[in-house]
Symmetry: C2
Subunit: 239 residues, 2 copies
DNA sequence: CGGATAGTTGACTACCCTCAAGGTATGTGG
DNA sequence: CCACATACCTTGAGGGTAGTCAACTATCCG
């Protein structure tokens, strides 16, 4: 199975083959883990970075009273805890949502890699900027979009992101999240996610069944979510 | 007037005096600008970085129908558009909220500075991670906190951030945002901000008048907002 | 077949929005 | 100095989106 982080950076960054090979070598410690498992926990002092090679994971924050929020979905090619490089205390947990294949990189090894290949550092910084842009877009969704718009927008984002790493077909993709997990992404309750899903289905924009989302009307879905992919920087560092 | 970005990095990063001096030299192009001015606009191809030396600015996104959201408040010591380093199209505008003093750094010069001093690149990456953590915390506020909790949380955050750059006293700070601007941060309407402000005043947690916020009961305010400063990484890169 | 998890629906509630009006503060020009 | 304009703040009434609580159904698995 090809490494989706490499596939992504080969297409989007300006890294040379030598640098890509060095990064690939750093991803040699590959592990399989089950679903619903904490890879790191809020408050941990991070010593390892986790690259998602296959499966879905998320960052999550849980308040003292149990309120839960998911500020990031981690898809193949994403680094779950990239800030472990320079931050000494994590303020979120990284949790698998499905069984995952991960590459685990020692923090010290990653820092050494960046020192030897500054371009890799730049590529990681670029990834961080894209995450930042995504977080800002989610902010807008949480504050200024209706639940229906927000959900449609999320479905659009996931199609673009999964396509970039070869995990989607033209008209759909696997959707392993429960309505409760979608709610924790969107800042809603599972009941309301269910209710908002119905008009999206009824208007013929999507189908969602058996852990699989089918986009029936891409233009309509984009319009319903006010979606513009620019914030995902789909053309990479140099465009 | 001392450079607040330097003050911050002197305290929080592991930069040497030589590196700090190099960064200071890069900040030599200082400009004064008025309030409510766009420094860069959504869609721009960025050629300059803007460091806030004094005054308040923000990142802002405006949808086609006029809905507005502010995903970041930029205080002295913040870099308004740090992703200009590696991103070729901005997906937000940077706008001044008050008259500001700015240092303007040419993008190429900044890249050269990082190449010569990799530690400066690491410090900037750390700043980006802290921004990221702040964005994630705002996400939680937008999705999972009530309006009153969210506003209290924001007031707490601003006290910590302004204190770090010497712009707050022990019990308060200048608050130049109108209720409408606060609403665009919190994903509310100005009417509701006004209503939520009243219990915070009535319970003796804060005073807010004449563009100045006074914290009357810090513990109470923290409790009302569920505030824990850890996400701001107030002890810097190495702690 | 039994148990657990997830999805669906209904009734009721509440937080926040919309629309509208009036009040206060500040600045400007005559 | 006053008249006026312009923001911004405050308050009220009514409505809509999303939450809560609860029950029922569907699906998956051992």
């Amino acid at each position: 199975m090809p490494n989706p982080l490499l596939a992504r950076l080969r297409l989007l960054s300006t890294l040379s083959e030598v640098e890509l090979a060095a990064l690939e070598a750093a991803c040699s410690d590959v592990r399989q883990v089950g679903a619903r498992l904490d890879l790191v926990r809020e408050g941990d002092r991070p010593e390892r970075l986790h690259v998602v090679l296959d499966g879905w994971a998320c960052r999550q924050k849980v308040a003292a009273d149990g309120r839960r929020h998911i500020p990031a979905l981690l898809l193949p090619g994403d680094i779950g805890d990239i800030d472990s490089l320079h931050v000494r205390r994590l303020d979120y947990s990284v949790t698998t949502l499905t069984p995952c294949t991960l590459a685990v990189i020692d923090r010290a090894a990653a820092l050494e890699l960046i020192e030897r290949h500054p371009s890799i550092g730049q590529a990681l910084m670029w990834l961080t900027f894209v995450e930042n842009a995504t977080l800002a877009e989610w902010n807008f969704g949480l504050g200024r979009r209706t639940a229906k718009e927000h959900l449609a927008h999320l479905f659009c984002e996931l199609l673009i992101r999964l396509s970039a790493v070869g995990r989607a077909e033209a008209n759909g993709y696997p959707m392993p999240l429960s309505q409760g997990e979608l709610a924790d992404v969107l800042g809603l309750t599972s009941v309301h996610v269910n209710r908002v899903l119905q008009p999206l289905r009824g208007e013929g924009l999507i189908e969602l069944q058996a852990q699989r989302l089918t986009v029936r009307d891409w233009d309509g879905l984009k319009k319903a979510g006010g979606f513009d992919a620019a914030y995902l920087h789909p053309h990479g560092m140099s465009a």
